[in-house]
Symmetry: D2
Amino acid sequence: MKTPQDMIPVAVLGATGMVGEQLLALLAHHPWFRVVEVAASDRSAGQRLGARLGAAGRALPSSIVEVTLKSLDDAFEAPLVLSALPADRALEVEARLAGAGHLVVSNASAFRADAQVPLLVPDVNPQHLDLLDAQRTRWGGGSGGIITNPNCSVAGLVVALAPLHQAFGLRSVVVTTLQAISGAGRPGPAAGDLVDNIIPFIGNEEDKVEREPRKILGGLVDGAIVGADFTVSATCTRVPVLHGHTASVSVAFQHDAKPQEVVQVLRDFASPLTGLGLPTMPRPSIEVLDDEDRPQPRLDRDLGNGMTVSVGRIRRCSVQHASFVVLSHNLIRGAAGAALLNAELAVARGWLAR
Amino acid sequence: MKTPQDMIPVAVLGATGMVGEQLLALLAHHPWFRVVEVAASDRSAGQRLGARLGAAGRALPSSIVEVTLKSLDDAFEAPLVLSALPADRALEVEARLAGAGHLVVSNASAFRADAQVPLLVPDVNPQHLDLLDAQRTRWGGGSGGIITNPNCSVAGLVVALAPLHQAFGLRSVVVTTLQAISGAGRPGPAAGDLVDNIIPFIGNEEDKVEREPRKILGGLVDGAIVGADFTVSATCTRVPVLHGHTASVSVAFQHDAKPQEVVQVLRDFASPLTGLGLPTMPRPSIEVLDDEDRPQPRLDRDLGNGMTVSVGRIRRCSVQHASFVVLSHNLIRGAAGAALLNAELAVARGWLAR
Amino acid sequence: MKTPQDMIPVAVLGATGMVGEQLLALLAHHPWFRVVEVAASDRSAGQRLGARLGAAGRALPSSIVEVTLKSLDDAFEAPLVLSALPADRALEVEARLAGAGHLVVSNASAFRADAQVPLLVPDVNPQHLDLLDAQRTRWGGGSGGIITNPNCSVAGLVVALAPLHQAFGLRSVVVTTLQAISGAGRPGPAAGDLVDNIIPFIGNEEDKVEREPRKILGGLVDGAIVGADFTVSATCTRVPVLHGHTASVSVAFQHDAKPQEVVQVLRDFASPLTGLGLPTMPRPSIEVLDDEDRPQPRLDRDLGNGMTVSVGRIRRCSVQHASFVVLSHNLIRGAAGAALLNAELAVARGWLAR
Amino acid sequence: MKTPQDMIPVAVLGATGMVGEQLLALLAHHPWFRVVEVAASDRSAGQRLGARLGAAGRALPSSIVEVTLKSLDDAFEAPLVLSALPADRALEVEARLAGAGHLVVSNASAFRADAQVPLLVPDVNPQHLDLLDAQRTRWGGGSGGIITNPNCSVAGLVVALAPLHQAFGLRSVVVTTLQAISGAGRPGPAAGDLVDNIIPFIGNEEDKVEREPRKILGGLVDGAIVGADFTVSATCTRVPVLHGHTASVSVAFQHDAKPQEVVQVLRDFASPLTGLGLPTMPRPSIEVLDDEDRPQPRLDRDLGNGMTVSVGRIRRCSVQHASFVVLSHNLIRGAAGAALLNAELAVARGWLAR
């Protein structure tokens, strides 16, 4: 553990939302990072952070809850900025801060499709971090840059797909998600809509699930991403679960693979992060569950402190090659933990100018 | 409305289960049928039916709840027997009653795969009823026979698939179901397993979803069913919904079809039951919903008194040809109403010897 | 059924909220009243009503959903105004409309505590309607006036308390409510707050539960209400139930009463509305349930079309005299049905100037 | 931490139930106790413990899940026996084991009302442990004895009542509980009964809530308990919450006390366990919450590792003197943790013959 003086100062944007609050919780005892600035919507500027947090957030250490919220229009001192802003604000604020020389690690969707911005999942495509080089002249700020993590329903899915793509070559993926309430942020769906009910639609979600995996699993060629050559069809539904997105997945490969081969490839997955000493490294990245009725959100979402992706029900698909069920914690592996791990990798690789 | 003397006496087997109780509710005011005998597990024989029913069942008319439960080993007088028995008891009891000359209309899975037994959905494959001819010598009882209806998660799905198969030729179907609690019968899942959770597995269900649609949509050739030539891949999950099975469906056709063509074919579906005067005829069989977040179980399961299948979110599938969401009431369209409609069609067609 | 020309034109204020929508549903087939004007918040003025309703509301007859929303600042033609406005708007709008000669039947809390305004539950205190006389000069509009119904958690409670107060004299009441989600209006509590949780507090609710029963059960003396002489202590909680407020009640009487006497008095309750022909009259007002685990919200809230108050678990209280559980449908008996019944009584008694 | 050889061997009876499994979880890393024998229903005897546990139990250390289940009729070697048996089996088995010289620390209700058996809550009535002396000749086994903990809905309530009784003298308590699903054990209520519903009745529960607090807060006079002189009236309901029993409480004192005095007495509560070094000691025993909408089950049940009782909404009661809401974790403070703390106190006081 470093002394406070040695720790890297970070700013958290969108600190009062559900992802922001989860970020603060993960940062409360982080060995490398120290929260020094927080900001949220402009109307909260000037208030104590604690006054704007939910019940869980108010229980954070006083070194965090007593910080005064800045305006998003302010200048920030922390070299590292973690952003949980909504997409529309992110577009402007994150570009400005990158231009001011900050390394912005964002959970927002604003720049995810940008060809020069890495859509990074460190145990899947760590080499995409080199895209930061392509940003050098982009924002006009020298050392600044933007890194993004995927949508919360893509984050777990792509971890399961990555070793399969490498081993067998993905051709197509048909996925139906059963997504948790917390994925919708605050205040999220009304209770009256999710008692004795599910909602078979989530706005703008299916498009992300169909696009983002191809960029993440794509190749880095001449400083740009060439998307992987497979298709994804997604149906996204909301279910009365607090945390943990479940995905029912069917895949076709370039070359057929038996269920036991799929199991073996997932079990044998070796994280490229091993040995780097990243505090938030998933341990393990993938857990294959044998029980026929797993993974279940409440039982399995917290595996590996919420960073482990669990996969179960691996079997032959009658239409494509294989079917399985993937579960991951949408707020941790799918959002706050994802951004934090991205920041850790970037720091470890020396991308943070101090 | 016929006078009681004119009404057809029916026996209900498995009367105290969830499907049996729903059958009794539908029969309580039925214009053709009159409940005269009820039976359930042998240990309940001799008791008042009302003493063994759940809260909803106890509110049925006294002409029903005051009937004394018979043993399944007893002889029955009613020519028409509606069975909601568990599969293992159904195998023996239904065969015996068919042999004794009864027309047995069953919700059980015991004989669904039997080549001589119609797996009947009257607005989809009414011609399969002619299979009863093939049973004439089977049970040794002259006029007796067995008719079955599909699994509760197949019943709605196949109604949506039927007109598409006719118009475009199904090649493959990938389906993920989000099934209601009542589909699991009594007592069903424990409350502790379905608060803040879903269960991504239902025992023996996926196999039924993969097989039954091919028989239902198959042809009747020389007194036997030739299964339709497409494949189905199913993942079945349980969600915290009381009634109403939702299915997320992706289909590939022999010939491509645009989403608006799929919409048109479903909207144009003309029920073969029109004009037959069946009391339980779905009105309509299919309802296409335009709102992007429908169908939803609580809002749409009761359409057409629980017999209408609602379809929404019809759109292009990136992997196959089309995607959509199907919803139907599992206890009515998927079980009790399905059996009742089967009985009505058989009576209208003159299959009931009196 | 009257012809449309004979029907009384009504205006519905706050038509797009949860109570307003329930009012429209009850009015859709009402034999006396015909909806001719609707209004909601000012920003919805000028829109089709149907465009602002929830899923259930959009399924109402086109004669209702096609009406154009007026502004609350507009003049209204209908002599009878049903108001489901929020309290703050109600204060100004209802007074103005009473001043313009309308009979305003309101579900809002704005005037409930007003000494000249009847807090009316027709099967409990119909005589309080005479308070309208005291309002003659109040609003400056001649025949106009305001009638209110109680808070949704008081509406059922007071029906159960009324015959007990008459028979034994209430001295004190300790009540804990378990209230449904729909009682909170739109959008109501967030789903994330009511999965695996209850909330032991409802803002401003306990005060109403402690005050309103005393006014309703009070006497009308010289044109003013003298509140009944008992005390109520309330704790109000929110539970994950869609509709139906449950109350756990302990009462002390002026004179002790055995549980079987309490049962008898509740069973013997004779509605003062019998014979008046009011379409929404509760049939019956009170249903005493014998099963030890009743009333339950989902099983009993719809008794008597949602107007019947069910009472169960009547037993000796170790501290006071008797304990029992009361259930009523918060949107019907507790709000929309309550207002409608008030309007019907007022019309039957000739208070509506036409 | 002691070495394994120094640790006290314990046997766990009823190990496969919900409370038994929680006990095993708490014992898995206990610094004093080591599980050496487990037993459950006789039909499970001879099986691996792990084969009979739920999902959470199967994740326990192999030193526990690999133990073979004994029969309840067997002899046990461990001097300390922790029992989570159902009441009917407990009556016979616990008496026999006490007779064989074991110290039996039981969660069962069988002996709770027994005048010679302590109904122990260590931070409330530790002096009642001396009742073990009165048992010396009772079971015929020399050093054996039985200690019980209260019902899960009493365990938290009595911790909040104890300091108030000491300060102001309780006269009467009216309580309505909103109890969690896990309090009903396995399999517990059916999911279909607790979606969109609450159940206003729990069999045999109210009697325990009305009796047990009087024994716990009673005095030890001449080797017997003299029950405290106040009355309790209870209504117990089941709500769709996984863990955490909430109680809405109204109390009358011998001497009036203002809300702020009640707050002060609860905040000032000094645990008699301080300094004893018991591993499961609640830290703190009572947490007074200021937010008006707390305690909430999901947010507060895990305070103090599930051993802290949280109290909120302290205010004047219009009928009695004070009202408040109490929450405690039913499986930990209300069952497994309660028994464990009882065992720790007994060991610390030297009651365990080795």
